[in-house]
């Protein structure tokens, strides 16, 4: 069962946060993230997450909390989730001079992101696009793990069983993330782990993609060495339970 509040945290801190990575490797996204003057958008979700996206010099940065020039107020997590699904358009209550960015550039950015995250089969035949799309999915899932571990009822149960420390999550030769757990609270950092206590490494992009799409059986991949898990295994065991919840929310 999907919890709307947990979904709102995923949409904020995994889906929208993915714009940071998009602007790192997509040229058009970089252009769009280079407004003449810096622009920022705050998402204020009633009884839900709050965050601000800033666009400057080709970079997108997400920070927790409000303070952006364009202010979007969503009455509830449900309303925010409907906005992410494109069903609802919120009315801005500030930053009216920057509305052009919101209506045009930001919309184009999210359209580009959608092309990577909901890629069609033809596009995926291009190897470079395939790897970029898989990288975007990797970061989305890595961030969603923490959002679920901190907000979903069953996710919180799993997170509470993860011993303190950090987990390295990687696609070999590709993107890396560090999931830091302390007292059952999870934080995803989209960079290589410095001193991990446990590792979950996907052997290549194809294996990772197959797992994300549900076309590769994880236990068989593990058995034949296409996924490597090592270190303090109880961390990975419990993380895998949260991973199974990711599919519930993002499928």
């Amino acid at each position: 069962m999907k919890d709307q509040n947990a979904l709102a945290y995923i949409n904020m801190f995994a889906v929208l946060k993915d714009l940071e990575k998009l602007c790192e490797f997509d040229e058009r996204a970089k252009e769009l993230a280079s407004p003449a003057k810096p622009v920022s958008i705050s998402f204020n979700v009633g009884n839900g997450p709050q965050a601000t996206l800033s666009f400057e010099n080709g970079k997108c940065t997400m920070t927790e909390g409000l303070g952006g020039q364009i202010k979007l107020k969503l009455a509830s997590p449900e309303a925010f989730n409907q906005m992410i699904d494109g069903v609802k358009n919120p009315l801005p209550y500030g930053g009216f001079t920057k509305l052009k960015f919101l209506m045009n550039d930001f919309k184009e950015l999210t359209d580009i992101m959608n092309r990577y995250l909901r890629a069609d089969e033809t596009s995926l035949k291009d190897r470079k696009f395939f790897e970029k799309s898989t990288t975007m999915m990797f970061y989305l899932i890595a961030s969603a793990l923490s959002a679920i571990g901190n907000n979903d009822e069953l996710g919180k149960l799993s997170a509470s069983k993860i011993p303190d420390g950090s987990i390295a999550m990687e696609i070999a030769g590709g993107p890396c993330a560090e999931i830091v757990v302390k007292g059952g609270h999870m934080t995803t950092i989209c960079q290589k782990a410095k001193n991990p206590r446990a590792y979950m490494i996907f052997g290549d992009f194809d294996t990772a993609r197959g797992l994300f799409d549900g076309t590769v059986e994880s236990m068989s991949a593990l058995a034949v060495g296409k996924i490597v898990m090592k270190g303090y295994i109880p961390m990975i065991d419990n993380l895998n339970r949260i991973l199974s919840r990711v599919a519930v929310y993002l499928a």
């Binding site: 149960l157 420390g165 991990p196 059986e217 236990m219 034949v224 490597v228 303090y232 339970r241």
Partner: protein, 420 residues
């Protein structure tokens, strides 16, 4: 020493992964078995005898996992196999069950101190589940007290709510207490008064990833009294320990009496039978529960079980296992000390559990075990080990030599930790 390679094993695993979920699912497989790295481990057995098995590449292993327990006398024991073959020539899976079932039940109730009756099934999980059902039926109560870090099989009632295949309602009556925590147990009983069906535990805490813990003095006697005073059925899951500590049951070994005792791995030297043993007052209840299976009354495992239990008794039973385990542990501990490795060995010696304490990621432990396995001694990273009565002095000495060489390889790879 030469180290092993596994080309035929790996080829077979590739074949397996195409037609069998996970290639090899469950605890014998690379994933759940924590084969880290997978390349260090054999995946398939070709044949086995005594303390050894040989893999598809012809590599021989001294086996300290013993099929995770069932190999208690030694693989393909001549006496047990002869009894099984003789029964196979007569009858096995038949419409009327063989009288061997009665003989086996009589032998078990004569052997296991607390047992007034025996109910047979196939796996440990069959009988832990039956024990729980019996306790609920006998008391009319629903809650179950578990010890933290427990393992009582894979049925839903033994799992957590965050397992994707488990419904919240299936586990909402589960209560948890620490092992050896009498005060905690009293508190839980007080807080859930008149609603607790049973307390289920292994005889000692043999969980994974932690040092195993033996019962404190007076612990089991205090648990027994609390259960009796509060109408709680005391279930001992002796699936792993059973017959390795004491053929009379592990409750007997620790000086108390369970209401029900779950047996499996140690009772028939690898032939597939499990048993729930119980006290008389539960016999009318268990007999009223609809619980059966297609192969639960097959005669071959009963014949094998009779031969196995008689041989266990003749060879010295649990005392012999404990002695063998102590010698294995002493040899490995000595090698660790000589190489400057902080190796913790815990639990009962015949089911020793090991952790290298020099890092909290267990990566060093995983590296060491991989080197041990590649040299022909089969151990696992994060599960207790098992002895069998076919272990020879030569095997035990060789195990210590392998442990020593593996420590040397591991420590040499980590000069940042193991400075000379």
């Amino acid at each position: 020493m030469n180290t092993y390679t596994y080309p035929k094993n790996d080829e077979m695993l590739q074949r397996a992964s195409k037609v069998i979920p996970a290639g090899v699912y469950g605890h014998l497989g690379p994933a759940e078995g924590c084969f880290i790295p997978i390349s260090a481990y054999p995946k398939f057995c070709d044949h086995a005898k005594g303390a050894y098995f040989w893999d598809l590449d012809g590599n021989r292993f001294i086996d300290y996992m013993c099929a995770y327990g069932p190999n208690i006398l030694g693989y393909c024991d001549d006496d047990v196999d002869a009894a099984a073959k003789a029964q196979m020539d007569v009858a096995n899976c038949t419409t009327s069950p063989s009288y061997k079932m009665v003989e086996f039940a009589e032998l078990l109730t004569d052997t296991v101190s607390m047992a007034d009756w025996a109910f047979f099934a196939k796996n440990g999980g069959d009988v832990t589940t039956l024990a729980m059902l019996t306790a609920r039926a006998a008391t009319g109560k629903k809650k179950i007290i578990f010890v933290k870090g427990y393992y009582h099989g894979v049925a839903q009632w033994t799992q957590r709510a965050d397992a994707p295949w488990v419904l919240k309602g299936e586990v909402e009556n589960n209560l948890m207490v620490d092992f050896n925590d009498i005060a905690g147990l009293k508190k839980i009983i007080e807080e859930n008064k008149d609603d607790i069906a049973c307390f289920i535990s292994t005889p000692y805490m043999h969980g994974n990833f932690v040092d195993n813990v033996l019962p404190a003095d007076g612990y089991w006697q205090a648990v027994r009294k609390l259960c009796t005073d509060n109408g709680i059925v005391l279930i001992i899951d002796d699936v792993r320990c059973g017959f390795r500590l004491d053929v009379a049951g592990s409750d007997h070994y620790y000086g108390f009496e369970a209401d029900m005792l779950c047996l499996c791995k140690g009772i028939a030297n690898g032939y597939n039978v499990s048993a729930l043993c119980g006290k008389d007052f539960l016999k009318p209840v268990v007999s009223s529960i609809t619980y059966t299976g297609s192969y639960w009354m097959s005669a071959v495992p009963f014949a094998a079980g009779i031969a196995s239990i008689n041989k266990m008794k003749a060879l010295g039973g649990g005392a012999k296992h404990l002695e063998l385990g102590r010698r294995v542990c002493d040899g490995v501990a000595k090698a660790a000390k000589e190489n400057g490795v902080n190796l913790s060995i815990s639990g009962e010696p015949c089911m020793f559990y090991m952790i290298i304490k020099d890092d909290d990621s267990l990566l060093l432990h995983q590296e060491w075990i991989a080197e041990v396995v590649k040299r022909g001694v089969f151990m696992t990273n994060h599960h207790n080990h098992f002895t069998n009565l076919a272990l020879s002095d030569e095997d035990i000495n060789y195990t210590a030599e392998v442990a020593d060489e593996a420590f040397k390889v591991m420590t040499k790879n980590h000069p940042e930790i193991y400075k000379k």
